[in-house]
């Protein structure tokens, strides 16, 4: 029994002296919180910007005015190449385990976002719930923007995306969600961010066709997209009847999209169900007699959402972008039907696809007032 003990001890020692191949303490890594890709003047190369927190100032001991993060930029041909450039310049190893945001600038996105995906898709440390965001304008300026409330721009963006999800005015699809859509047919809707002088605005979406940005969606269109993605988790809508402005707050919403093949004619059935409250009635001439009945308000809200969703669908059809994945749904449901439109579905069939949209918005409560 002594021999095995000595062997085990020997192996332990060997392991330890020659070992610890992957050991790298947390303070020896450069935690990359955000990545931004921009175009450079020489068109052949691109610029990658990393947001790395400065550990010295994180705990706020050195005063609140100091910079809490640094932005490092480099140019190169591929993301991996640029990452190597960083490692040559940085005194610590890059660590992508806490990356929250990958920003792609508008100019780059118009040429295609495909080349940026694989670097992140292949990395085992990457959190698949990070957000792939298209920046309107320069991507680096988004990370540069100063936010007094949360000094780390990437964390700020990530939190904003989560909080804003309740307003349904942002696209809340994360990296893996987008990847599922993009790798199916190259079309998707990604979140959009704008940096102005004073603040960051998150809202609306970027419409991707064949991995290329072709149009922006405003915030109402984004809400319609969220409905179609079945990702609505709150939000408010206002309808005006006569002079009264009613604000409807969504509690729950559920969307069902079902392809229907009848007599060789394909149509998409979209059914949106929602429950909500009236949280405000805004009027200068308010008296209880003039309040409209719930039925009337319901009708108006349904009409509003119907218009919004149909507007988005028409836009998608006009641009020939199947960003919601209608084709995938039909392929799953009617595989034999889809075989005839192998490659040219989005040009040939999608623009004329029939949609039957049903909305069922119900007001449950009206606050403590009637």
């Amino acid at each position: 029994m002594q021999k095995p003990a000595i062997t085990v001890l020997f192996i332990f020692c060997l392991l330890f002296y020659g070992g610890c191949w992957d050991l790298r303490d947390i303070d020896q890594r450069s935690i990359v919180l955000g990545v931004a890709f921009d175009q450079t003047e020489e068109n052949a190369e691109m610029m990658m910007t990393l947001e790395i927190p400065l550990l010295m100032t994180i705990n706020g001991e050195n005063g609140a005015n100091e910079e809490t993060s640094v932005l490092l930029s480099t140019t190169g041909k591929t993301p991996a190449q640029m990452a190597t450039h960083f490692e040559r310049r940085n005194w610590r190893q890059l660590f992508f385990g806490h990356t929250k945001i990958v920003l792609i600038s508008e100019a780059l996105a118009r040429e295609g976002i495909q080349p940026f995906i694989d670097f992140f898709d292949r990395n085992p440390h990457i959190d698949r719930r990070l957000n792939l965001v298209i920046a309107q304008g320069e991507a680096r300026t988004v990370l540069e923007a100063e936010n007094p409330r949360e000094p780390l721009a990437s964390v700020y963006l990530k939190n904003m995306l989560e909080v804003q999800a309740k307003t349904s005015r942002v696209i809340t699809r994360n990296f893996q969600d987008s990847l599922i859509r993009l790798e199916d047919n190259g079309d998707a809707i990604l979140p959009r961010v704008r940096a102005t002088e004073t603040e960051l605005t998150i809202g609306g979406g970027a419409l991707i066709k064949d991995w290329k940005l072709i149009a922006w969606l405003d915030e109402n269109e984004a809400r319609a997209a969220q409905f179609l993605h079945n990702r609505v988790d709150g939000g408010r809508m206002t309808v005006t009847i006569d002079t009264m402005v009613y604000t409807y707050s969504i509690l729950t919403a559920k969307t069902r999209i079902r392809p229907l093949l009848q007599n060789g004619v394909l149509s998409m059935e979209i059914k949106i169900e929602s429950e909500g409250n009236i949280v405000e009635v805004f009027s200068y001439t308010k008296d209880h007699q003039s309040l409209h009945s719930i039925k009337e308000i319901n009708q108006k809200i349904n009409q509003l959402i119907h218009e919004e969703v149909m507007h988005l669908l028409n836009k998608l059809q006009y641009l020939q972008v199947d960003a919601i994945g209608f084709e995938q749904r039909i392929r799953r449901r009617y595989p034999n039907f889809m075989r005839q439109y192998n490659d040219n579905w989005s040009q040939q069939y999608f623009p004329t696809l029939q949609f039957t949209l049903e909305t069922d918005f119900q007001i449950r409560r009206t606050g403590i007032l009637d």
Partner: protein
Amino acid sequence: MNQSKSILCQEVPVLILNIILGAGLLNLPSLLARTAGPDGLLALIATVGVNLIGVLLICLLVLRFPDQSIANYSPKLLGRFCGFLFNLTFAGYLLFAAAIVLREFSDTTNVLMLLRTPLEVIMLTMLLAASLLARNGLPPIARASQIIVLLLFFPLLITPLIWAIFDWGALLPVFQVGREAFLEAMTTSVFTLAGFELLLIISPYVLDKRRIIPASILSVLLAGTVAIVIVLVTFGTLTVDQVAKMNDSVFEVVKYMPVPVLILERVDLIFFSIWIAAAYSTVVILLYMVSQQLAETFTISSGKNFVWPLCVVIFFVARIPANQQDSKSFIQIVNYLWIALVYGAIPFLLVLSIIRNRSTAAKRTILGKSKRRKKTRN
């Protein structure tokens, strides 16, 4: 004391579950998605059904020789030389299976967890850890397996989180692939659910042999269910296309899953640890099986002393494939060996034993014993 070597019948499913739910399970969704697309799930269900027949065959053979392991009765059925050869082949298969499990495990660990650590170190530490338990015989292995099985069911606790990203539509369309692709999916996935041949070796040590059939069918069903659930979840969350692209899609599901941040932001490495436990128990049981099979082939009372030499052999065999694609073809060979064993050799032995009718005496005694037991109970 015979008691110290034997295990309860309730421990048989535990052992079988542990050996089936091993390293290969991670790869299973990707394998199925690549070969049969969404039909992979159906192929898997069919495979589980076929394996039920396989385990039934093994049980029937085992019950014909209740107090012997396969190494003891195969020479009686096949003749001395052929039996010896068969035993060696069986041991060789087990050895290769152990090597494959080890290799697959180490490769995945290298990819997901320890990127710079040499493959050899991972393989050696695993082998060393496994050999320490495998040397101690069946009852400790059964006990450790019992705890590990409990761990394996721990991931069920987080299934509710998956509902947020689960999409039944992603499982469609079905019945789209041809017969050949379906069969290919079945033959490649069948090895992932292999392991119940364990019964051939441990049967003499099982105390209550009459319950061996329900116990082993239950275990194959349970393992099959776990595999089906895993494939269902990966297909339903990541879609078949994504699964086919990835190597170890199960962890990607965990990384993708919305987890409320409590203590840990990412739970995928916790899953990874549990999976290490699963791979560990598989290696332990396989090591025990090879050593026991060799010991009984050469009529040595205990396989204990075979374990460490075997570890060295397994280490070098596991090092053979140059890369992940190489090891896939390596797996294919062992896969066909397994199919030949369970669906070729076992029925053949069973038929031989019935024809030669050598086991009637043994059968009579076991029936007599059971009747007697019933009487005493009354």
